[in-house]
Symmetry: C2
């Protein structure tokens, strides 16, 4: 994996030998972004399967259940994590043959998930690019590019595809406090692609929308239920401002992000540690003794979303039945 905590300063790959290291990497945001987290968890299970392939099938499945349990606890919000683990575990249980054969099936399924996410990213790019007109400036939040997915991206995919089609497209990236994924990662990816990007603080999104600088908003998602889009904290404010100013607000996500069987629409919103806010670049910026509330995500009602850009095309919220097979 690319170690995302080191970007944009250092571009380094890290290797993992077992699922515990993968779970720690997900928790510590060495890898982040909902589709990337799902694929990483699947690879964690592949490592667990490979390490136990010489064991009897029942024992191997037991080891996989333990690994799945640890990986499930790494982060609570992104649906892709649970979706990928469930899918790999289903394949393991259904596989015939001995431990070696079950392990091979698990590795194959993990590879398939990663490959499908890449294909989904490109399909999202194709579907979303149709919404982008020549000359558009698109506002996005957090990082939803190659780093957040296995490759290419979710919200960045339509922008990249539109640019590749020859459309002039510019991006406004929010810095995305507290971890600054917009400032550090989105700008890094777009500079690399040669797509013009302007950085703003999160609070300036309303002003940018109100003054006509933005023609479309496209964000990613960590989990989509029938009622809400859980995405990086700050997304809800941008959705409100886009709607108040008649700027279309789109959510780009592969089917692995849709949690439509969740009738309650409850989403556990991860609260991360205070130090993400109180310290920047190792320096304390807040007086000692100040309590912090640090939710990593927020919930945007689906009514504020003009369209979901998926690998199956653009879907409107009241047509979620089109995603009902998910």
């Amino acid at each position: 994996m690319i170690d995302q905590t080191q970007l944009p300063y250092h571009f380094t790959y890290v290797n993992f030998k077992n699922y515990r290291q993968v779970a720690t990497a997900i928790k510590g945001m060495v890898v982040r972004g909902a589709p990337a987290i799902g694929a990483a968890a699947a690879m964690g299970l592949a490592l667990a399967a490979n390490a136990n392939r010489k064991k009897p099938k029942a024992r191997l499945l037991q080891e996989l259940e333990i690994a799945a349990g640890v990986l499930r606890l790494s982060r609570p919000t992104a649906w892709n994590l649970f979706w990928a683990i469930d899918r790999v575990m289903r394949r393991a249980k259904e596989a015939s043959g001995d431990g070696t054969e079950v392990a091979a099936a698990v590795v194959e399924e993990a590879m398939k998930i990663a490959e499908e996410e890449v294909a989904a990213s490109h399909s999202i790019g194709e579907a979303g690019a149709r919404l982008i007109e020549d000359g558009d400036q698109v506002l996005t939040h957090c990082n939803t590019g190659t780093l957040a997915t296995v490759s290419y991206g979710t919200a960045l995919a339509p922008i990249r595809t539109a640019a590749a089609q020859g459309k002039k497209v510019k991006v406004i990236a929010t810095e995305t406090r507290p971890r600054l994924q917009g400032a550090k990662l989105t700008t890094y990816e777009l500079l690399h692609d040669g797509i013009p990007v302007t950085l703003i603080v999160d609070g300036a999104a309303g002003y940018a929308l109100k003054t006509g600088m933005v023609q479309k908003v496209i964000v990613g998602a960590d989990r989509i239920t029938k009622k809400y889009v859980a995405n990086k904290v700050g997304t809800y404010l941008i959705a409100l401002a886009a709607n108040a100013n008649n700027v279309p607000f789109y959510v780009a996500a592969p089917s692995s992000t849709f949690d439509l069987r969740n009738e309650s629409s409850d989403v556990k919103i991860e609260e991360r540690n205070a130090q993400e806010i109180t310290h920047i670049a190792g320096k304390r910026i807040v007086p000692r003794g100040v309590p912090v509330f640090n939710p990593a995500f927020d919930l945007t009602p689906v009514e504020l979303v003009q369209g979901f850009i998926t690998e199956r095309g653009v879907i409107v919220p009241d047509r979620f039945d089109a995603m009902s097979l998910l």
Copy 2:
């Protein structure tokens, strides 16, 4: 003045010998907050008057016009700056007697502005405290306390008065990027007062409002026209989220912030330098070559404001005629 750029690390006073130093201090945000900027500019004119008091009256007025011009250019958005300069200059022009007498009138007027702002802060506190119920958690943005005014505050004044009246009141402070006035200054003031404060990133205001953590929002203002409240960037997003979740959104400001004679309602929004965003605590956090858009303020339509808390009481937007004398 207290050097606000050094807080919360060092509490230091700085002294100024002439209006140029005062203008530089306003520009560099050694002093910030609309009422404090107005009073500081008035004091800058007092320094200019005092330095030129032995000159003939016509020459003194000429020097004052030059000083007023320089001070007017220090920052463009806060109305209090222009209001205070206009008021002192009017007094200078109307004063009778020789240079010494005119200079004394200017000094007196500057002192009067500072004293009136203190009185206004306390009246705002009284008026606004009536809106706060026992147990309320109030969300505020940026810093609007003693540091932003001459003393006591605008949006923090009702909170302080309510607490002094024995009401249990808690505060959620947004960190307020890029300059982190909420994280550095508001928490510092409230810790000092013993009023419970919880810090959030700006993007989390929507989630806090949506989940019922907030009973009232109170913010300050840099300029209030018939159509808009110009205040620290991010205010507009908070106003939208408060309105979407039926949480009252109040603006606390003295009459010196009201620019109601401005028929066009145009407000110049200051754009500050890129380094405020690209660097934190001296360290670059953004890849080189990324352009930045850094508006320091945004515009909230007055329709989103449930009430303006002024030293004359709480006024609703469609009763701006009550402020028509301003």
